[in-house]
Structures are given as structure tokens and as C-alpha cells.
Symmetry: C2
Subunit: 97 residues, 2 copies
Amino acid sequence: MTYVQDDNTIFVGNKPVMNYVLAVVTQFTSGAQEVSVKARGKAISRAVDTTEIALNRFLQNVEKKSVMTSTELVDTEDGKTNVSSIEIVLSIRQDTA
Amino acid sequence: MTYVQDDNTIFVGNKPVMNYVLAVVTQFTSGAQEVSVKARGKAISRAVDTTEIALNRFLQNVEKKSVMTSTELVDTEDGKTNVSSIEIVLSIRQDTA
């Protein structure tokens, strides 16, 4: 999928949340030990939905490792603007690995 | 303001983000050592905006202490449903306190 990078990062945008849940689940079932879910602006809520649904319904042996929020400077038609961002890192539970 | 609880918790909803930024800043200038910013569903993005703006523009001596996401069971007209939530805890920097 186009929104998966080489380093197991999934960028959440405006598609239905289940697309991103599937991307996360696919990464783990393909052998990833850690998956990073990122989003900016209004998509932040969807990124949280993505990880909550993935963990509660599909990935019993995965846990939230960290949740970080920050501000990014983004280029727009009207010049540079600040946008909030989130990064949620999921990883295989160590005690069940 | 109605969205501030006794225990320094601010619930972010659908009002303009600056209302919540002002609420956070007011809590700290009133002597609070720690303020918790909570939101559910689509308001999660606005909660992140609130804390980013408050920290970057107004509160130089405050830092993010923790960011937690979770799922809450909420009653709606159509029965119970799962909603994602976020809690961002801000606190006075210890090295400058």
C-alpha cells in the first residue's frame, strides 16, 4: 500500500479507518516487531482510532509503546503553517514474544 | 468555565481551539502544577492543537508529562459504542520550578 514506508511507518490520512487498521495488521503479520502510526491535523483522531481498533480487535500480542505529539511546519498555498502531529508506536509485547 | 473540573481537567469539545488554550493557560497562571487535557472522537485533534499552541506560544515553563490514548464505551441513541479518547497531561517543568 502506498501509505506504508520501508521502515514500518503508516501515515493516516482521509481514507476509511479500516484501510489503516488493515495496513497495521498486515505489517505485524508480515513479521514487523514495531509499527509507527503517524498523522497530522484532523487525521490525528483517525490515527488514534486506527491503533485502538487494531489493538482491541486484531492484535492481542501488541501493545502501545509510546504516544508522542508535536508541531510540524508545513508548506501550503498561503505559506508555511504550523500543524499538530501525532506518532503512536506499536510493538510486539515482550512478555509474549 | 464549564469545561474545567475541580481537578484541573479540561475537556476539549467543538468550540474554537483558542477557548481551550485560554483555559489551559488560565489554570497554570492560577497556580496549577499540572493540567490534564482530555478529548474524545473527532475532538482529539483539537486537544493536540490545544496543548501544542499552549506550550509553544504561551507556557515556556510547562512540558508534556504524558500522552495516553484509550477506548471508552459511550451511550448513544443507538446503544453503546466505542469511542477513542486521549489524555495529555501538562506539568510545570521541574528544572525551572
